[in-house]
Symmetry: C2
Subunit: 434 residues, 2 copies
Amino acid sequence: MTSTLIRNCAVLVTPDSGDCSVQDAQDIHITDGTISAITPTRQTPPSDAEVLDATGLLAIPGLTNAHTHTPMVLMRGAAEDLSLDNWFNQKIWPMETNLTPERVRIGARLACAEMLLSGITSFADHYFHADQVAQAAAELGIRADLAPTFFTSTGPEAREASFDTARQIRALSNPRITASLGPHAPYTVSEEDLTRTAEVARSENFRIHLHAAETQEQTTSSLTHHNATPIRLLHRTGILEAGAHLAHACALADEDVTLLAQHADRTVIATCPKIYLKLAMGNTTPIRSLQAAGIPISIGTDGAAAHNTQDMWESLRLTALTEKHKEQDATWMSLSQTLRLATHPNTLTPGHPADITLVDLSAPHNQPLHNPLAALVYSIRPADVIHVLVAGHLVVHNQSLTTADLPEILNQANEVADSLVTLTTPDTIQHYAP
Amino acid sequence: MTSTLIRNCAVLVTPDSGDCSVQDAQDIHITDGTISAITPTRQTPPSDAEVLDATGLLAIPGLTNAHTHTPMVLMRGAAEDLSLDNWFNQKIWPMETNLTPERVRIGARLACAEMLLSGITSFADHYFHADQVAQAAAELGIRADLAPTFFTSTGPEAREASFDTARQIRALSNPRITASLGPHAPYTVSEEDLTRTAEVARSENFRIHLHAAETQEQTTSSLTHHNATPIRLLHRTGILEAGAHLAHACALADEDVTLLAQHADRTVIATCPKIYLKLAMGNTTPIRSLQAAGIPISIGTDGAAAHNTQDMWESLRLTALTEKHKEQDATWMSLSQTLRLATHPNTLTPGHPADITLVDLSAPHNQPLHNPLAALVYSIRPADVIHVLVAGHLVVHNQSLTTADLPEILNQANEVADSLVTLTTPDTIQHYAP
């Protein structure tokens, strides 16, 4: 049994509904990776636990990055000021012919470092060579769910190989690492392949992580080709029934919300607002109507080839700002609502995993601190993150990784970066034409 | 004659049109506060200038915060999740009854510290007790233009006193500190007072900094009450002819763009996108049509009571994102366009003031560095700012202020913060009802 005591911090309380709040002068007791108690500092008896002095810091539930493609940090800044079509067809999908398992692992290590140092304790990834992403996550000590990507264009062997990769990741039996199935999207995966995916998911108890209804063009095209919206297609192929983790879901019909609501107990939708704006994708995720229908929402960054960072502070702030703007309601997506979305399912409550981020709000950009919730949504910077624990392990201590050597990660990334973005052949892994 | 040499940095080149670029391995020579030459590092002869080694850093023109109310950092986080009406009437204008000259200076010192540390070298401020803001700017070494605010509701004495304050600031004869006249807005200042302001501005060669056409409600109301849009009102009172620095200008009619274009040589419009989203103000500044008409655009933060920070990186990034989204054109507001707006009129060119920010792009969130322009717009963080020079003076060195004691600034701010936001009377300085 290992015991850790985070001593004398403020604690962010994030109830399932209502206002979040901050309790000062608390001790967080951790036993075998789980929060075992939270007690006022002055009431804590002496113990032989390992102590992390957190005086002056605020503990928050670790941030969850609900949708990304971590290895794409290697393409950061290499595809700018392009329409969605050109971004895919001129840059990203040709570049991805340069992927190798080693390059994927190198990229994932850099992304995991960036995420941990900015307070993210878990992420849901969707990419090729997902076993390599799993290795990087295991090494750096971050919690991860990995969905091995496949397209129908690469044939049934690639589809089955992606399922095998998910099984291999599961077989690692690392309690912090899980796997999902990863069909790319309804516009790149056939109805037959979606059906097969749902069957495997149901029989082997996997969830399915995929992109859906990213733009109105995709939804309109789906109606033309399948006589069904992307969400209806996911319903009729059994994907929704099996349990779907959907990225984006921006262009939804009313009937889509109804279908999703019928599977609300097994569905989550990840919104990534920065890329909707940057790639001029039209809609953003209709969070208000989805939440009204009881469908869980999470926030993600998406890959750095469009998002440029793996910074969840940026994503949660943009979620609040874009929602207030879209709904023309400055009271909507309040501080508490936003913080819940960004930290869910983590919560600083006994019995929950000790995935905890400790921040210092004493820098000038957060002062005076009239309202720590406002600081967390609207003024904090990633550099305010001091310590990070995942499953009770101190993976970031005093703003440094404890699990890996950052200069070595950066050197490796720079050694392979050019080879990944240089296009020497007209090859591509896919063509964007939804 | 004082000479400084910034040695061995990369230099951001920001031409008036076309693409920005980066030149590696340059030396920037500064004489008496002005850039005297920029030469390749290996060609620089020995000199007796004071040397700042900038190996590994990128020099950019100092960021310009084109519209703010710096002392409002004291209200940071104290008015959240409120409609524009309630934000003004329940919080901000009642709180401003608590202003004193000392509190204004204390707030401005904190804001100047925050701005300098994040790479801002100049700001245009609009506030009460503007002489105190001038003192803070002079002390910290940042360049500033101060517009003393007045409302018609406080009578002609307050109007004339605000003009006197502008004259006093000018009389400081500090080459880094200028003054403008500061009527609050066409919906809080009478036509008569606007006319009087324009007369003083013309006769004494002041510019006029004011809010205008912030929301469609204001523009519609102006048409009802004045049979003129806010911009038409500024035209007919002589404000545009005198030279206007307009904050926001979000809700414009076509004829407004035409009127502004007629005064393009003496007009600048400051856009502050974060607050348009956060306060659900409807429109954002129509940058594309204003630029097409030749009207200069700059970027500002606005006050921290709504913006929560004085971070121009955030503002420039949001300008790019919101413009791409609004125009549904991912190629619009390109990296180069955005960087020009955020740094204008500063440029790293011989003969220009040595207002220079040096950034380090080696941290994981900027790596690999395929495109430094993309890093400056989409991934940089304020903590990447290492050194800042204003008029050749090194005011931030290795991420620390050289001109003031940051802990003392923070202590002062915290001592007065509660007294500023506590509402003990029903008094207010103004009522929002455009």
